[in-house]
Symmetry: C2
Subunit: 221 residues, 2 copies
């Protein structure tokens, strides 16, 4: 029986658990890079497991994607809560949240592409979206009460602004995050209503036209 299990998992059970976390990480990365259209086979390949094992855990691609979408929302909620808890200043909390959300501090890649993707609605997703709204409301209300955030910027602006600041561009990893932070720096100036008017330097090195040429041209020919 299942309830006869005692102690830590061993053998096949351990492998299954390891597969679970690998699968989760791989799905997060692949969906983040290529969106909902990413092939399931690449997720399995990157996780180092077979298709059979993947489909035993998630009976369909859609369920896997929905799970990642919820995980993405919960990640944003956690980042908002952390920012509020660790940054006493409301403005610093908001900035911290934006930076964390765009770089996904040590969480293995951003899930925003799936959060903003179009998938069938489920109750779980609705509930996660409600929690996200509550967390972002706290963040924004705090900044509004402190008078540091422009009044016409709402909590519903945050997901859209994040989607604008983190578009799918033909570059991934550090450089993409650096560019996202660069243009976040611009937007932050516009968000603030008090304090120093001109910001410090923009994040990261400025792009060069040679870099654009590489971005715009297909890899081989």
């Amino acid at each position: 029986m299942g309830d006869t299990y005692t102690g830590r998992p061993r053998g096949r059970q351990r492998e299954a658990d390891r597969n679970d976390v690998r699968l989760f990480q791989a799905a997060r990365e692949v969906f983040a890079e290529r969106g909902w259209d990413a092939p399931v086979s690449e997720i399995a390949r990157r996780a180092g497991i077979g298709m059979g094992s993947l489909y035993r855990r998630y009976p369909s691609k859609e369920l896997l994607a929905q799970r990642m979408r919820i995980a993405g929302m919960e990640q944003l909620v956690a980042q908002a809560r952390t920012a509020l808890a660790e940054e006493p200043d409301p403005w610093a909390a908001l900035v911290r949240f934006f930076r964390d959300a765009l770089t996904d501090q040590g969480t293995g890649g951003p899930l925003l592409p799936l959060v903003g993707g179009r998938l069938p609605a489920t109750d779980e997703v609705q509930a996660a979206a409600e929690r996200l709204r509550a967390a972002l409301d706290d963040l924004v209300d705090g900044a509004h009460r402190a008078g540091v955030l422009r009044a016409d910027f709402t909590s519903a602006d945050i997901p859209l602004l994040l989607e604008h600041l983190a578009p799918r561009i033909p570059v991934t990893g550090e450089r993409a995050a650096s560019l996202h932070l660069r243009y976040l720096d611009l937007a932050l100036v516009g968000l603030r209503t008090t304090g120093p008017c001109r910001p410090t330097d923009l994040h990261g090195p400025a792009p060069q036209w040679e870099e654009l040429r590489d971005l715009w041209n297909a890899p081989d020919s």
Copy 2:
């Protein structure tokens, strides 16, 4: 012979010309909405012409896309030149250019998605990119010399910033452009080094959470 043609085209020739412009407009719209992955058949359908007529004019999808990419770059060049010519103030010219580029004033939709897409390099594309660089250099240099634009913002930032401000989001038309302008307003504050510190109201109505719910959920189920 062909050179015996005199006067205006009539009959089938007129239809062919009308098809040309319809095809161009349709390709612009479809590529703008769905990117390089858009099916050729939808372009033909929206143009109201058959596949045969489409492929008589463009021997491959790739050539059609490259043509639109060049058109997109040339449109940006034209918008930059127009902004420089009609706005005496360098800052006003820069703002005018950004707004025009994001809304594509009466040009039938933005072509930025194709400009930023990955396609094989061709000499024509390289030349168009060079002209684009020259035009954006003029725009940025003017603002730099006037001291109104932060020094660490370069002309190569402009295409990337435009891509960030105009991501493919699951909404098209007026509302998408309105949102793009909204977040452009934020970035513009960060770009300016002089003048009024706090901007006027953000463009457009603030998004509501209900709107986000509609954006994130699939159309039917």
